[in-house]
């Protein structure tokens, strides 16, 4: 019985990659505009959460003040997505890393695109704040003394009276 094997290795290094550029094409200018594009896209991405805020606020308004499945769903989304976003911040911004980056691994560090990332974090915090505000208006934030009543220490009186 003969075995047929597929040579995938030949796909990884196509010959077209080593073809010379067409005439009049400067690789440097293309790279430069490409970098500017990436930076603009990175800024767009960073302020993306902020742009969604009015829409989310409207949805919150529409979902009402009661504790129901819709309002809870939206509030959960608002509360969890900022953390999810911030946790995946480096991966999310890796695609916008400048081509000058020394290595793909460096693209995953916080120091690449720091300003955009800070803006992104700020926007996410704004989303979180919106979620918390909603929580508060629904009475879900444990802010009152009544919310901590069960944890309050209860003493034993030093005297003992027989009644």
């Amino acid at each position: 019985m003969t075995h047929t094997t597929l040579n995938y290795a030949s796909i990884e290094n196509p010959k077209s990659r080593h073809l010379p550029p067409p005439p009049g094409f400067s690789i440097a200018s293309v790279t430069k505009s490409y970098e500017a594009l990436k930076e603009r896209r990175a800024w767009d991405f960073a302020v993306g959460p902020a742009k969604q805020l009015p829409m989310q606020a409207f949805m919150l308004y529409m979902s009402g003040g009661g504790v129901q499945i819709f309002s809870i769903g939206i509030v959960f989304m608002l509360l969890f997505s900022p953390f999810k976003n911030i946790a995946g911040i480096n991966a999310a911004f890796a695609q916008f890393a400048p081509g000058t980056a020394p290595s793909p691994s460096r693209a995953q560090t916080f120091t690449t695109l720091p300003l955009q990332k800070l803006a992104y974090i700020a926007c996410n915090i704004a989303t979180l704040a919106l979620g918390l505000w909603k929580c508060r208006s629904m009475g879900l934030l444990p802010t009152g003394s009544g919310d901590w009543l069960a944890f309050e220490p209860r003493g034993v009186a030093p005297e003992m009276s027989l009644l």
């Binding site: 009475g139 802010t143 009152g144 003394s145 009544g146 919310d147 009543l149 069960a150 309050e152 209860r154 003493g155 034993v156 009186a157 030093p158 005297e159 003992m160 009276s161 027989l162 009644l163």
Partner: protein, 1006 residues
């Protein structure tokens, strides 16, 4: 709708007892009370219709609980009963073939006529105002009833000088009053004959009494003759007997029986009846016979004839230590022939014995039999009633109804007991509900605490053989859904074992009566589990415990719970000797089986008391420290403890500096509450001594009605959270208690701190006026209950001061909170009373109109205190009713509640607490004269057990916030199981198909 949220708020609380639950989760037992045997005119007697079978006979009696009742002789059930008001005590009853005439109140103020067989009240007449009644001792002296022949009319003697003829409708035909009321003649008996009505009385002369008889015209009531009979009666009315055939009066004079025959002119001369000497004469309620007791104790039956008397003596009836003193009773059969019975206890045989003498049979036949009366559990025989139903030539076979010293009524026919009634249960003074131990698996009966590792492994290995059974049971139970629900009756798996049911609905009610008995009842059904006699110190080892002292229960404590290795209770009682001295004794009982812990674990015997103090205890308390013990204070305020073990002594020594004891002090009429601290070794014999530290300033003339202490139940939450999530912290200082007091002009209620004596709350209430409580002017009818930080009291408001205000019952609900407002916290639960902060207290208070007068009040209690506490009251309509806490919230809003108040579920204030018939826990039962309600937590947090005692007993359970912790009855278990099973089948079927589809998709991806 104007207040829609009101209905939202009420929807949660509107929960009625379902019809299907009635009689399943609750029970009630009706009683008539302990027969009043002090006089023959109130004691039990048989009523039989002529020509009817004996089983249809009725036993008629008036009782110490102020009830006139008839019992079926066939089974002892209540045919009817009529409950008199407490201030209208029955002094006399008399029956003829169809009616019963009763006199009640001071001097016989009220006359009532009842139909014998049904108990229907035919007539009720006020003969004189109760205030004009002469209080007599004995209470039936000076009252009498005699029936006029054939006409249904009755002659009534009241107040020892007024005679009336009353017809069947209760209307007075004529009245005759003794012309000289100030004179020393006090009439006590009536003899009705067709020609004259004789009113027999005693006139007081120097050293003795003289017989005085007045003859009245039966139709007009005019006096015919008035005569002093020359006589000298030393002791008074007890030595005077009257007879109707022939009409005559017999009295005892210098040990000899004298008799005078009566005829309208009263010319007959008195004469000596027989040559014998008598110590006393006993009225047995017959027309011509009585019993005379001779100096040697033997009893003669004397039957009067026209000319003289026949005499017959009971054989072997002289005083002897082989048998006790006898009870004599007379009876008549259907033909009206007399029988006289002698009932006594034979020490020789260890049985009771009855001898019935029939003068007309075979020239005087005595029929005797013995019967196994249980003297160790029922005490001694104090009264007997006899009904001779089947008369044979040589045998009488009478029904004998015994009344015992512990309030039991028993019917014996020959040596067979037909039925027994525990009327002592109508005299319950205090009760506790005690949790049952869990059911232990087989072989686990011995003490597990001492079990070693190897034994334990072995036990588990042995237990493992039951695993297949258990699994089979588990799956059938799961599949069929046959769980116990909260509404199902608690049926024991094994009827003879006393173990806890899954929800803890089954408890033992230990109840102490003032007849010197201790009962244990099953809380599911009210059946008596055991009954123990409390020893009075002299009769512990006797086989026939004759009571020589009164044992009155004072306090009942649970010394050990089921979880601590078998429930045990301690009853603190005062033992009052007949000659005066009072001792404090303790009865220590294992609650499940009633085993004595003081004596040597003798089962079925009398409970032996341990004398703790030779003298009265002024108070006793349960101290719950490392060990649990009872602390007593004697009259000199010295400290005693029980059990007096090393543990409790060292516990007391370590607790002593921190103990504070508020006590009632002062004389009656000017009472005070005085706080005491305990000083070690200041008393006699090195005992600790209570020294006063503070005292209240009650005004002179004020007396203390009750001390209301808070139950030591777990408190789920230390605060009440408001709508804006701030907290009102509850005032939970463990030292607070409430005191109700009365003076001539006002009643008051105070909340005091038991350590420092600070008055936290004080309200002055009006007294009940005369028109609302006749004869109880200036009385205070204040009922209060205090739980957590919530004080509720109900009182009678005699009159509003303003226009449009009405008199009525008021309920005031007070809640105490720490500090001045929300979030102002002082930590009162653990705060010393001496810290200034302890007085920074605020309260909310609101009064409502309450629909009923109540005789007992309590709140529900649950295991963790999470469930809201309903108020449970016994109302004047003889019902047990619950009122939701929501409606009694003192923070109910004025007007429409705001959003925050709505969030708190506050209901707008309404002055009237609605009388919701759906919340009557006792539904259609009549639970008469309740004077105490005990509530106790079940294992289910939602449910609280209720036990009410008084004349009747009632047990039920309530769930103030519905049974939130069990699935409802309507839950479709089958649907759930089928859905889950269907889904499981679908998964099993679909799984291979889906797998194949996935594989195919891999291969043939487009």
């Amino acid at each position: 709708m104007r207040w829609p949220w009101l209905f939202i708020g009420l929807a949660a609380v509107a929960r009625a007892l379902h019809e299907s639950e009635a009689g399943i989760i609750d029970w009630h037992k009706s009683f008539i009370g302990v027969p009043n045997i002090a006089s023959i005119s109130t004691a039990p007697s048989f009523h039989a219709q002529q020509g009817r079978p004996p089983a249809e006979a009725l036993l008629i009696t008036s009782t110490a609980s102020n009830v006139l009742a008839a019992l079926h002789a066939s089974d002892g059930s209540i045919a009817w009963r009529y409950i008199y008001e407490p201030d209208d005590n029955i002094v006399y009853y008399k029956r003829n073939q169809s009616t019963i005439v009763s006199l009640s109140g001071p001097g016989g103020a009220t006359l009532r006529i009842f139909e014998c067989s049904t108990g229907h009240l035919l007539a009720e007449t006020r003969l004189h105002k109760p205030a004009e009644g002469l209080l007599q001792d004995p209470s039936d002296f000076g009252t009498a009833v005699a029936f006029a022949e054939g006409e249904g009319d009755a002659y009534v003697l009241t107040n020892n000088h007024v005679v009336r003829r009353v017809d069947a409708a209760g209307d007075v035909q004529w009245t005759w009053m003794s012309p000289d009321q100030t004179a020393l003649v006090a009439y006590s008996c009536l003899i009705a004959t067709p020609s004259a009505l004789y009113v027999v009385g005693l006139a007081k002369s120097f050293a003795s009494y003289t017989l005085h008889i007045t003859a009245l015209s039966p139709t007009l009531g005019t006096p015919l003759v008035d005569a002093h009979i020359p006589s000298s009666i030393a002791t008074g009315p007890t030595d005077l007997l009257i007879f109707t055939s022939p009409p005559s009066v017999v009295w005892l004079e210098n040990g000899a029986a004298h008799r005078v025959q009566l005829e309208p002119s009263l010319k007959e001369k008195p004469g000596k009846l027989s040559g014998r000497e008598y110590v006393s004469v006993v009225d047995v309620g017959l027309e011509s016979s009585f019993v005379g007791v001779l100096p040697d104790g033997s009893a003669s039956v004397i039957s009067l004839t026209e000319s003289g008397a026949n005499l017959w003596t009971f054989p072997e009836s002289g005083s002897s230590d082989r048998y006790t003193d006898s009870v004599f009773v007379g009876a008549k059969d259907g033909q009206g022939r007399p029988y006289i019975a002698r009932v006594f206890w034979s020490n020789e045989w260890g049985k009771a014995s009855a001898h019935v003498y029939a003068p007309h049979l075979a020239g005087g036949l005595v029929s005797g039999f013995t019967f196994p009366f249980q003297t160790l559990s029922h005490g001694t025989i104090v009264h007997a009633a006899v009904h001779v139903a089947y008369v044979k030539e040589t045998d009488l076979l009478p029904y004998v109804v015994l009344t015992t010293s512990t309030g039991t009524i028993e019917l014996w026919q020959g040596d067979r007991m037909q039925w027994t009634r525990e009327e002592g249960l109508s005299r319950v003074r205090m009760a506790e509900m005690i949790e049952l131990p869990e059911r232990l698996s087989e072989g686990g009966q011995k003490d597990r605490a001492k079990e070693g590792f190897v034994e334990r492994v072995l036990r588990h290995a042995v237990d493992a053989q039951h695993l297949p059974q258990y699994l089979a049971h588990f799956f059938t139970r799961f599949a069929t859904g046959s769980y116990e629900s909260a509404a199902s009756p608690v049926l024991p798996s094994e009827p003879d074992t006393l173990t806890r049911d899954p929800f803890g609905f089954r408890k033992i009610i230990v109840a102490a009566t003032d007849l010197g008995t201790l009962y244990a009842l099953d809380s599911r059904t009210g059946t008596v589990l055991w009954k123990k006699l409390l020893s009075d110190g002299s009769n512990e080892d006797s086989l026939h415990p004759e009571p020589t002292a009164l044992v009155l229960p004072a306090k009942l404590f649970v010394l050990r719970t089921a979880a601590e290795g078998g429930p045990e209770v301690v009853l603190v009682a005062q033992r009052k000797m007949a000659n005066g001295p009072v001792d404090t004794v303790v009865f220590h009982v294992e609650a499940v089986r009633g085993r004595d812990k003081v004596g040597k674990l003798k089962e079925g015997a009398i409970l032996k008391g341990e004398e703790v103090i030779q003298g009265a205890a002024i108070e006793s308390f349960l101290v719950d420290a490392q060990s649990r013990f009872v602390l007593f204070l004697d009259q000199f305020r010295q400290v005693y403890i029980y059990p007096n073990t090393e543990d409790s002594r060292s516990d007391l020594a370590s607790l002593l500096p921190s103990l504070h004891v508020p006590l009632r002090t002062g004389t009656p009429g000017s009472a005070q509450i005085t706080g005491h601290t305990l000083q070690p070794a200041l008393g006699f014999d090195g005992r600790a001594l209570a020294q006063p530290s503070w005292t209240t300033s009650l005004s002179p003339g004020e007396s203390i009605l009750s001390i209301v202490k808070r139950p030591q139940d777990p408190i789920a939450s230390p605060g009440r959270v408001l709508g804006n999530r701030t907290t009102l912290y509850k005032l939970l200082s463990p030292h607070l208690f409430a005191v109700t007091s009365s003076s001539s002009s006002s009643c008051s209620i105070r909340v005091l701190d038991g350590v420092k004596g600070s008055v936290m709350y004080h309200a002055v209430l009006p007294t009940g006026r005369g028109e609302s409580f006749p004869g109880r002017e200036g009385s205070c009818d204040v009922k209060a209950i205090f739980v957590e930080n919530w004080l509720v009291y109900i009182y009678w408001d005699p009159e509003g001061t303003g226009l449009g205000e009405a008199k009525g019952q008021r309920i005031v609900s007070v809640e105490f909170y720490e500090g001045q407002g929300p979030d102002d916290k002082i930590g009162s639960e653990g705060l010393s009373s001496f810290v200034p902060d302890a007085l920074r207290v605020s309260m909310f208070e609101r009064a409502f109109v309450f629909p009923h007068r109540v005789s007992a009040i309590t709140t529900t209690r649950t295991t963790f205190g999470v469930t809201s506490k309903d108020l449970i009251v016994a109302n004047e309509a003889d019902q047990i009713q619950s009122f939701p806490r929501v409606l009694l919230n003192p923070r109910r809003t004025h007007g429409k509640p705001t959003a925050e108040q709505q969030e708190e579920m506050l209901v707008p204030y309404d002055p009237l607490v609605p009388d919701d018939p759906r919340r009557i826990v006792s539904h259609r039962y009549r639970i008469a004269n309740v004077h105490g309600i005990v509530t106790s937590p079940a294992l289910l947090e939602s449910t609280s057990l209720v036990f009410a005692y008084g004349l009747d007993l009632f047990g039920s359970r309530v769930a103030p916030s519905k049974t939130f912790d069990v699935l409802s009855e309507s839950f479709n278990k089958a649907q759930l199981v089928l859905t889950v099973a269907g889904l499981a089948v679908a998964i099993i079927v679909a799984k291979p198909a889906v797998g194949r589809k996935r594989l195919r998709e891999r291969w043939y991806r487009p």
